[in-house]
Symmetry: C2
Subunit: 189 residues, 2 copies
Amino acid sequence: MLFPCSRGRKSSREKILDAAAELVAEIGAGRLTLEAVAEKAGLSKGGLLYNFPSKEALLQGMIQRLIDQVSAEKEALRGQAPPGPNLEARLCTAALLKLCGGQMKETASGMLAATAENPKLLDPLRQVIRETLKTLKETSEDVDAALLGWLAVEGLSSYEMHGLSPFSDEDRERILQAVNRLLSKGIAP
Amino acid sequence: MLFPCSRGRKSSREKILDAAAELVAEIGAGRLTLEAVAEKAGLSKGGLLYNFPSKEALLQGMIQRLIDQVSAEKEALRGQAPPGPNLEARLCTAALLKLCGGQMKETASGMLAATAENPKLLDPLRQVIRETLKTLKETSEDVDAALLGWLAVEGLSSYEMHGLSPFSDEDRERILQAVNRLLSKGIAP
DNA sequence: ATTTATATACCGGCTGGACGGTTTAGTTGC
DNA sequence: GCAACTAAACCGTCCAGCCGGTATATAAAT
């Protein structure tokens, strides 16, 4: 994953990916055009195509960054996670929820853009999800709770991503704590 | 919600909505064109525009059908649901899971198509979701469990919808039972 | 030291094709 | 005779990808 430019401040690639993500949230995944992305990123269409040789490449870049962000967040949390059962599930949910905080729509907009353009672009994500399921099944003390917690956070993410979330900050806080309780102690009375 | 044609077998409207849903799953939400839908539905473009006077109208129809299907499923289950706590949550999850069974991708493809084209088209869905949350909060014996169960099923639906689900039929069965246990008894040891 | 060459990073105009939507004129079946 | 179409042409718009240029920097050759 090395790419040409990387010296000084924010690279053009980063600026482009940011711009694309914001645009998806603003105008809809299917309306994403190279020209609009270029303008928002502050360069020309030619410059954009220099960094990403095709629209597909741009979408792939968006997906890959999403994967990398979640993975990095998970590893960052691994060091400081409190001991207890269902560690992997707690890391997964905490990482996702952290990215949910206020910017999930942008973070996940690559998914929407890729779904709109060409569902095959989601293949790398498919792989990651399959591995996550495998890990959860193998390492969780309470697999049912781990699956439920994971899926609940995915459900929340999905709502945020589509701009469908009816939840207030209090609601989100409550859900976060319920998931933690589910994973560390079960949830019964 | 009455529309011109409705006599005999499957109406053109239904055929069109089916065709559109399948196309979204096949080629991506953003690639949906009127011509392709018309061809798949077995009529001409003119005929399609006779039934849905614009592409927006078609997408609205897809969203509305999704809402109606879930709602109908819920009411159908209400009569035969076993007594116990968190009734509304159990109805929601059961209805969604029933639609998940093998055809969620088609059922929910309207969401993807609308997201791609114009996020505002999801407004009716937003309304339904807000009401669902309100009902769950007001009527659930264990609100935390109700929210978690609901979100978990939404997470599962989201994976199915995007074709990202890593779950086997056994997995789904296990999740279904875990959700039921969560809603009727809590989940702790 | 000066010229030449090569690579990076980007500009911006152009084109060919596709798509949404309209219109018109005709057809089928109840 | 009207509803529910078919068939086909047509228009305006949009957009991805291409291509010829430009500016800067570093390196190599002379």
